[in-house]
Symmetry: C2
């Protein structure tokens, strides 16, 4: 039986190698490829591609080069969202993962374009890797106006708005973060050709894990020092950002996260999903 740690140790370098070797090939200009690679290779956890691959593994599907390409497409799209979120007109962040953000390093136009390049390239890799219009539908809905971008719009719309309610904040956080996590698992169920009933269990797990991830991220913001997190922490409250944690406090947020872990575990009962369940251990460090 493979553990989450073993799976992570095996596939993280495979993902990193694929990204490093293929990004430059897909760009017309070497310097533009370098600008995109700067953010893609900035040392992310590769959570979403690992989630995609772990779901395939749990469903008994072999992980071949096509699966890795599809997984890496998700990571490109995630990186695009980080670059655009950091822009001066958005969160105006100078640091990300301990490095200068794309616009601080390369300039604002370059950062906008790096994101604009990574998004379609990510979708291209998903289409090429999966040869499936279904997977493209899943990812584009997840990151479009009814998903991640819709959430980012709500975020800028609710910042410094005291009258916004907890439900709106929860919904915003789901769109911003949960949708892409859910899509990573949903794409894997479609890629593996899972039957609807079995797929539904994985989607339930992904909803719990995805909602949990936003709470986790909010808690990291207050728990860790800036140095550990590699970005400016304790920032959300200063700039008037509302999130679930600022709305309901740390104690209640931790309790909600514990409940979600239990629900996520229950969703996959009876499945050979040890690796996937191991993702929930990530949350222990803020509990």
């Amino acid at each position: 039986m493979t553990t989450f740690k073993e799976f992570q140790a095996k596939y993280t370098p495979i993902i990193n190698d694929y990204l490093e070797q293929n990004l430059a090939k897909e760009s017309d200009d070497p310097r533009f490829a370098e600008i995109m690679a700067y953010s893609v290779m900035a040392g992310g956890k590769r959570l979403r591609p690992l989630l995609f691959l772990a779901t395939l593994d749990s469903l008994g599907k072999d992980i071949d080069q096509k699966a890795v390409q599809t997984a890496c497409g998700i990571e490109l799209i995630h990186t695009y969202s980080l670059i655009h979120d950091d822009l001066p007109a958005m969160d105006n962040d100078d640091y990300r993962r301990g490095k200068l953000t794309s616009h601080k390093k390369w300039g604002e136009a370059e950062a906008i374009l790096a994101g604009d390049g990574l998004l379609p390239l990510g979708i291209q890799w998903i289409a090429e890797g999966s040869q499936s219009a279904k997977l493209v539908e899943i990812i584009t809905k997840a990151v479009g106006p009814a998903g991640m971008v819709g959430g980012q719009y709500l975020d800028i719309d609710t910042t410094n708005n005291d009258s916004v309610d907890a439900q709106t904040i929860d919904h915003m956080e789901w769109l911003k973060t949960g949708c892409l996590i859910l899509a990573s698992v949903e794409m894997a169920t479609a890629f593996a050709g899972a039957a609807q009933e079995q797929a539904a269990k994985y989607l339930d797990f992904a909803k719990d894990f995805g909602r949990g991830y936003q709470l986790y991220d909010d808690l990291v913001d207050i728990v860790e020092t800036s140095e550990e997190a590699g970005k400016l922490t304790h920032k959300d409250q200063e700039v008037g950002k509302n999130n679930s944690l600022t709305m309901q406090g740390a104690a209640e947020t931790r309790q909600e996260l514990k409940d979600l872990i239990a629900k996520g575990q229950a969703a996959l009962a009876g499945e050979k999903a040890e690796v996937l369940l191991g993702f929930l251990d990530l949350y222990q460090k803020v509990l």
Copy 2:
């Protein structure tokens, strides 16, 4: 025999209706849908979706609702590119098609997000309309780092650079404008299931028409008054923008455009492509 004018008169309102009725449905937030619709419904010529549909028509393929959805996906992607090109960090344009640009009307974050929403939604419509991963590959390559975005990067990289050569400028213009025009035709050949030999003729036409379109656009910039063009013309030279016209002069640009029209007509000799050939008439007004 349908003429280009008849085809345009029939399908332009069909495209506009589809866009108007479906944009709001696909968004989580009504105001965000309004921001996207502001630019989408700003009165474009719908050139790229019409090209897609006219190619289907020439290939004898019926134009149903799925074809219209796919065509409209292309228009969403084109609109995204205009919104981002106009941003302060890019061309910093205040007007487009006689209206305030998205960022002047709604704010910079909103404009970035409107583009970020329209791009995946456009790809979603193409995937849903065509049910084909192949079409997704064509469009994502055309607008990604080896296509449109790569061209936009070259554009900001070569602005105010006196040492740039004509070949680089031609290549940049092809990426920025030609790639998406070629993709509109190429997607139609795949959508219609055209045989490779026949498809190749349409791709040759599209390359000539696409190269011609950039020359046409440059010529419009010097020929029309600002009022007619709906944006600030005579601007390229002022801001140090290099394009084919500033490199080779108006007379040579017009001659190249005439040659491209003749080549485009020759490419489709023997095809029932009257409607598609009618697109070339657009260029007469700058000759």
